[in-house]
């Protein structure tokens, strides 16, 4: 097994190579505005560092969000193109699940990433591999009672310390953790977000902002 993993659903542009047992190479940089520029050089870098030939890669692992859309799509279209060009499967994993797995927290906790517009993407977890609620997007104030007192993972939680009072590591997504989770799932035959060979689809959670242009404006004075 040789997995190439990456995630662009958060400000972290992260890529890793994993051989089914361990992370061979990982690269993570935090830059919310340059996902498109940073991802492929990072992929190239981890493959070189791992000494891995591209045609030895057996699967692509990609974080499917939720996350701000423009960055999120960079990872997803890259994964789809790699899968097609190399003829290998693409395994989609919820980005929050990667953070949960990396935290290793045993017991109930929440993961929250920054959704901008004063909102967070978040979900409840019963353990590092057990999500207990669907990913959602909300204003932190509106979910305060639901997350009260729970350990909270992710940079989105750290932005709202008045709501998330027990901040734990990690803050940022790691493709190494995402790949390790994928390797564990593959070893145990657990399903991915995209079952049955479907393309890995993004978790947008919000409908597109479609500004309907204002009604036709008259040029003649009223």
């Amino acid at each position: 097994m040789l997995l190439l993993a990456f995630d662009t659903a958060t400000p972290a542009v992260t890529a890793a190579v994993h051989d089914g047992t361990t992370v061979l190479a990982e690269s993570t940089s935090i830059d919310a505005r340059r996902h498109g520029e940073l991802l492929m050089p990072a992929v190239d870098c981890v493959l070189r560092e791992a000494g891995a030939e591209l045609d030895a890669v057996t699967g692509i692992v990609v974080g499917v969000g939720p996350g701000p859309y423009t960055g999120l799509r960079v990872g997803l279209v890259t994964a789809a193109a790699f899968g097609d060009a190399l003829g290998i499967p693409v395994h989609g994993i919820c980005t929050l699940d990667g953070l949960a797995y990396a935290s290793g927290i045993d017991g109930p906790f929440v993961v929250a990433t920054d959704a901008r517009r004063k909102e967070v993407y978040w979900a409840h977890y019963a353990g590092p591999r057990t999500r207990s609620s669907d990913p959602a997007v909300d204003r932190p104030g509106d979910i305060a009672t639901q997350v009260a007192g729970l350990p909270a993972v992710g940079a989105g939680a750290a932005l709202y310390p008045e709501v998330f009072t027990d901040i734990r590591a990690p803050a940022d997504q790691s493709a190494g953790a995402l790949a390790a989770l994928a390797a564990a799932k593959l070893a145990e035959g657990e399903p991915f977000e995209n079952e049955g060979g479907l393309p890995a689809l993004p978790l947008y959670l919000r409908r597109p902002d479609a500004q309907v242009p204002a009604a036709y404006k008259a040029v003649l004075p009223k």
């Binding site: 340059r34 498109g36 520029e37 940073l38 991802l39 492929m40 050089p41 992929v43 190239d44 591209l54 859309y69 423009t70 799509r73 960079v74 997803l76 279209v77 890259t78 994964a79 789809a80 193109a81 790699f82 899968g83 097609d84 060009a85 190399l86 393309p199 993004p202 947008y204 597109p208 902002d209 479609a210 500004q211 309907v212 242009p213 036709y216 008259a218 040029v219 003649l220």
Partner: protein, 353 residues
């Protein structure tokens, strides 16, 4: 390989996911998936809707193009992609896909300019472009007169619109007339039933002291709106066909007049017309008449190659491969406001291979 490079081109600058494959000047495939119907009810292209559609359509459209061309991805000599100008989020989907295919297949990547591609596509129709090429580029986002000594490296602006693009003017007039979006094709259809001389709409920037090669379409737009509103206010039926025909006549009159003048002034013996508005039937017929009268050779690609497509990107990419242009690096950015004067986008230099 260098003479007739086999290149795949990806175009996602607006609402069409285009993938084309060319061998030198020969078109092998032109696959397009459009999200235009999803935008129609909004009266314009909604960027987020377009970007989502690009992501879904990307791989299937690539597969369709390869099948149509009957070539294997491994045989390609290069992958070209629109790096700009266009909608930022939409461009990023195509650029990211192109990088991944280029990297996975071990092929050189070429980030190219959408506007130069609209010109270069004519090589698929009429063979090698003359050097220099005089081009009138008219689309929803641009209206320019360009002189290109070398389409891969040297494109110069002689003039451009100071307000709306020609295609925008068609959209606005269609909205005023209640004909929906996009405006170009529907105005063209209505105009066929109308009298182009029924109303004399203003010709912008055609006075003797006006800039020779710049365009302005806000005046004709306002005049059309005023005309239509007056009729409606008086409770008189608006002669849609006559308004459409007269508006179209005014716009095409200015475009062709200025383009022919630019050819004369610069001693060029031909005129190339590219961009979505070049699909307009009246612009094509008027350009044909006037170029013939002026002794100029007219080069306009067939309508399907004038609207946004991947073949035009592949055509420019193939020209770059043929001329040994240095490929773009893996950190190639999408540049929403890439100037027309930069046909090739090298990236910052974190190359691979």
């Amino acid at each position: 390989m260098a003479d007739e490079p086999l290149v795949l081109g990806i175009e996602t600058s607006c609402d069409e996911t285009g993938v084309g494959i060319v061998r030198g000047h020969t078109l092998l495939a032109d696959a397009v998936a459009s999200s235009v119907d999803e935008h129609a009810r909004f009266g314009g292209v909604v960027p987020e809707v377009a970007s989502r559609a690009h992501l879904e359509a990307m791989v299937p459209t690539i597969q369709r193009a390869l099948k149509e061309a009957g070539v294997a991805a491994g045989d390609l000599d290069g992958i070209a992609v629109t790096a700009g100008p266009g909608l930022a989020g939409a461009l990023l989907v195509g650029v990211s896909a192109a990088k991944a295919y280029a990297y996975a297949l071990g092929k050189p990547l070429y980030g190219v300019n959408h506007l130069a591609s609209h010109i270069c596509v004519d090589q698929l129709e009429h063979g090698a472009l003359p050097e220099p090429t005089m081009a009138l580029l008219v689309s929803g986002g641009h209206s320019s007169l360009l002189l290109a000594p070398d389409i891969t490296s040297d494109v110069r602006t002689l003039g451009s619109t100071i307000d709306d693009a020609a295609g925008e003017a068609f959209d606005k007039v269609a909205r005023v007339l209640g004909l929906g979006f996009p405006g170009g094709p529907v105005i063209d259809r209505w105009a066929k039933e109308g009298d182009p001389d029924a109303i004399r709409f203003p010709r912008g920037l055609t006075g003797s002291r006006d800039p020779h090669y710049d365009f302005s379409f806000s005046g004709v737009n306002t005049a059309v709106a005023r005309r239509v509103e007056e009729r409606r206010r008086e409770g008189v039926e608006v002669p849609i066909a006559d308004v459409a025909a007269s508006f179209q006549e005014a716009v095409t009159d200015v475009l062709t007049r200025k383009a022919i003048r630019a050819c004369r002034d610069n001693g060029v013996d031909h005129l190339m017309i590219g961009g979505g508005v070049a699909a307009n039937s009246r612009l094509r017929s008027m350009a044909e008449e006037r170029c013939a009268d002026a002794g100029l050779k007219l080069r306009v690609p067939r309508p399907k190659l004038c609207t946004d497509n991947g073949a035009m990107v592949a055509a420019l990419g193939a020209e770059m491969v043929a001329r040994n242009v240095t490929p773009s690096s893996l950190d190639l950015p999408a540049d929403a406001s890439l100037p027309v004067t930069e046909p090739h986008v090298p990236g910052h230099g974190h190359g691979h291979g």
